[in-house]
């Protein structure tokens, strides 16, 4: 029972962390290596909420807005001039990640800090076991996040043009879609989502200027095996996240840390399209 919950909650956390990266990858065809930096921004947004004495429920909203604003500025100033040079753009996001980490170090110091959790304690399960309430809450958050994104992509005008750009950017432009605006919106949304995820993981761990880095590699591999579909991302998170939990439990946590990366490499070798249908 608790293993099953471990798998579900781990997958939920991974899904929240990866969603923003996947969107940016889908539209812009670049892996945004500043994603780890945006996660960190989210963690510090949550820290600000704690410092301001606001209720921890504010943290995710606050983090999303700050992340999205940072994303807008960065898209306009750094990423847009590099649209025609995707490799340089990837390199630029890598550098950006480092810069974000350093700016945060300057502003908040290097030390590890802590954020209040909105809910504490454990929920009693049938059968005498109990499980962390916050982790269960994250499952609901991840599902809500997935449904919201799906609703935006499938049900709105912005979603429609975004899907058009994902499928064939040149054709979409020929049909009069302003793909620059779509890119701008997606990058900002992606940054906002990363920052949101950063604020969600902080009650479980600590806040420090490099907190986003360990997540980046796993998120990158998960997006690689998912293609550009939110559904296949969910599958990838459950399968590979589940494998990580099982390896940690039956083997040891040190091997568990490698599981996602190694399995993802195997999956890509055997089935280049990964978990997506295409």
């Amino acid at each position: 029972m608790s293993t099953l919950l471990d798998i579900l909650t781990t997958a939920a956390i991974l899904y929240s962390v990866c969603a923003g990266l996947l969107l940016v990858f889908g539209v812009m065809k670049i892996i945004n290596f500043a994603h780890g930096g945006f996660l960190t921004v989210g963690g510090y947004s949550a820290l600000l909420v704690t410092h301001l004495g606001l209720h921890p429920w504010w943290a995710p909203a606050f983090a999303f807005v700050i992340g999205a604003v940072c994303g807008m500025a960065i898209e306009r100033l750094v990423v847009r001039p590099l649209y025609s040079r995707p490799l340089d753009a990837i390199l630029a996001t890598w550098g950006l990640g480092i810069i974000i980490g350093q700016v945060i170090t300057l502003a908040f110091g290097r030390e590890v800090q802590f954020v209040k959790s909105p809910v504490t304690g454990a929920l009693d399960l049938p059968g005498g076991a109990s499980y962390s309430e916050y982790r269960l809450l994250l499952v609901a958050v991840a599902v809500a996040l997935g449904l919201t994104l799906a609703a935006v992509l499938e049900g709105t005008r912005l979603g429609l043009v975004t899907r058009a750009v994902i499928m064939n950017e040149n054709l979409a432009r020929a049909l009069g879609i302003n793909s620059g605006l779509v890119r701008f919106a997606t990058f900002s949304l992606g940054a906002g989502l990363a920052s949101l995820a950063g604020s969600l993981i902080t009650p479980l761990s600590s806040v420090d200027p490099n907190m986003g880095v360990p997540w980046l590699v796993n998120a990158f591999m998960l997006v690689m095996v998912s293609g550009v579909s939110l559904v296949s991302l969910a599958i990838a998170c459950v399968v590979l996240g589940g494998a990580q939990v099982l390896v940690s439990q039956w083997g040891n946590p040190i091997l568990g840390g490698l599981t996602i990366v190694v399995l993802a490499a195997f999956v890509l070798r055997l089935r280049p399209q990964g978990f997506s249908r295409g």
Partner: protein
């Protein structure tokens, strides 16, 4: 690229830069004889970053007090702080630059065991005395090394005995960070538990920078032990583990071999009820400790980081070095090393003399973290011997 003739302005700027560098290089050398440099390699970033600022504050107070009374042998004490990143790679850089570039007379600091082990060969090469002020897993022996903090032989017994006596604990679960301190402490703990007739039902480790304890906690719950004893890296891993344990509803007696009072405070309500055993708590009622607390309060005011079992030995270490230099009559490494075992300094933790194979007998306290983040002392153990640490060193 087109080649251009260098303009006079550019050339002047180049000379100015060169001159600045030259001054920067020669200045410390010119003054090297007038001051005593104390090197402090410490984890300002990484796992130790929660506790490192308090260590630096302790050293600053000691240096200020000593300088106000005329320094050491009439020389002013200067502190050189270097960030070791809490790990081996950072420590190599920090030790190297302190010993060979800053030319410090002594190293006094608390560090992770990984950092200490990486630094020791550099200490040997630089022939520089090194007073290690952090509790650790024990049996680190080097001609230039002295330790004024506790080792497992002094610290583990109070917690395990207390659990066995007051909670009738028979089965124990051990959790640690995967590095020298974590494994060393728990190896000793496992031995001690077995010796008194208890049983270890599980032992789990996470990498030092790991923050997801999910699977460890699941295994802990499945093993259903009477008590939990942890030994993580100080700071971040300690906090993430405690938070996740509390979130998972783990309520068995929880002994923490690596938490200090300051870290406990920063954890807030999650730390309540943790058992800790150490050689220093802020509410020790000796006049020396009260004077120390008052002086810290006066010097740092609102910026004061709670003094703790990692920062107070730092303060005492600086004084031990002062006494050793005065006894030896010089800063000569060999003479100071010989003198360090002979001097006894009375500080906030009592009279400390590093006369037992480079280690010191210490008065140990068993405490429990209160709701407010303070520590309530439950039992006191007078002058606990460190046991056999470095029998081969003179």
């Amino acid at each position: 690229m087109q080649s251009k003739k260098t303009g006079p302005l550019v050339r002047a700027a180049q000379w100015a830069t060169l001159a600045t560098f030259a001054t920067a290089l020669t200045l410390p050398a010119a003054h090297a004889e007038d001051v005593i440099r104390i090197g402090i390699p410490v984890g300002l970033s990484g796992a130790n970053s929660v506790v490192a600022p308090s260590v630096v504050q302790s050293a600053e107070l000691a240096a200020e007090e000593i300088n106000a009374k005329g320094g050491i042998l009439g020389k002013k004490v200067v502190l050189e702080v270097a960030d070791d990143g809490s790990g081996a790679a950072g420590a190599q850089k920090a030790f190297d630059s302190l010993i060979f570039q800053k030319k410090v007379n002594v190293l006094i600091s608390m560090e992770t065991s990984a950092a200490r082990n990486a630094g020791l060969p550099i200490v040997t090469r630089g022939k520089t005395p090194f007073i290690y002020t952090s509790f650790y897993e024990g049996r680190s022996c080097n001609k230039y090394l002295y330790v004024n903090a506790w080792v497992p032989d002094q610290q583990v017994a109070p917690i395990v005995d207390y659990f066995a006596k007051n909670y009738k604990a028979k089965t124990y679960f051990l959790v640690g960070s995967d590095y020298a301190f974590g494994r060393g402490m728990l190896e000793f703990t496992r031995g001690y538990i077995t010796k008194i007739g208890g049983k270890v039902v599980g032992e789990e480790y996470l990498p030092m920078d790991g923050s997801d304890w999910t699977s460890v906690i699941s295994k802990l719950k499945a093993a259903n032990p009477d008590a939990l004893i942890t030994s993580t890296a100080g700071g971040a891993p300690n906090v993430t583990l405690t938070k996740q344990l509390r979130a998972a509803g783990v309520k068995i007696p929880y002994g923490n071999l690596a938490v200090d009072e300051g870290t406990a405070k920063s954890m807030g309500a999650d730390a309540e009820g943790i058992y800790i055993s150490g050689s220093y708590f802020t509410n020790i009622a000796s006049p020396k400790n009260q004077a120390f607390m008052a002086a810290m309060q006066k010097k740092f005011g609102a910026n004061l980081k709670t003094p703790n079992d990692l920062s107070v030995p730092q303060y005492e270490g600086v004084y031990a070095y002062k006494m050793a230099v005065e006894k030896a009559g010089s800063t000569d490494a060999d003479k100071v090393i010989a003198a360090l075992a002979e001097v006894a300094f009375e500080g906030p933790r009592g009279v400390i003399q590093m006369n037992k194979q480079r280690h010191a007998p210490l008065t140990m306290y068993l405490g429990k973290v209160t709701k407010e983040g303070g520590v309530e002392v439950l039992e006191t153990f007078k002058d606990v011997d460190p046991g056999e640490q470095c029998p081969k060193l003179k």
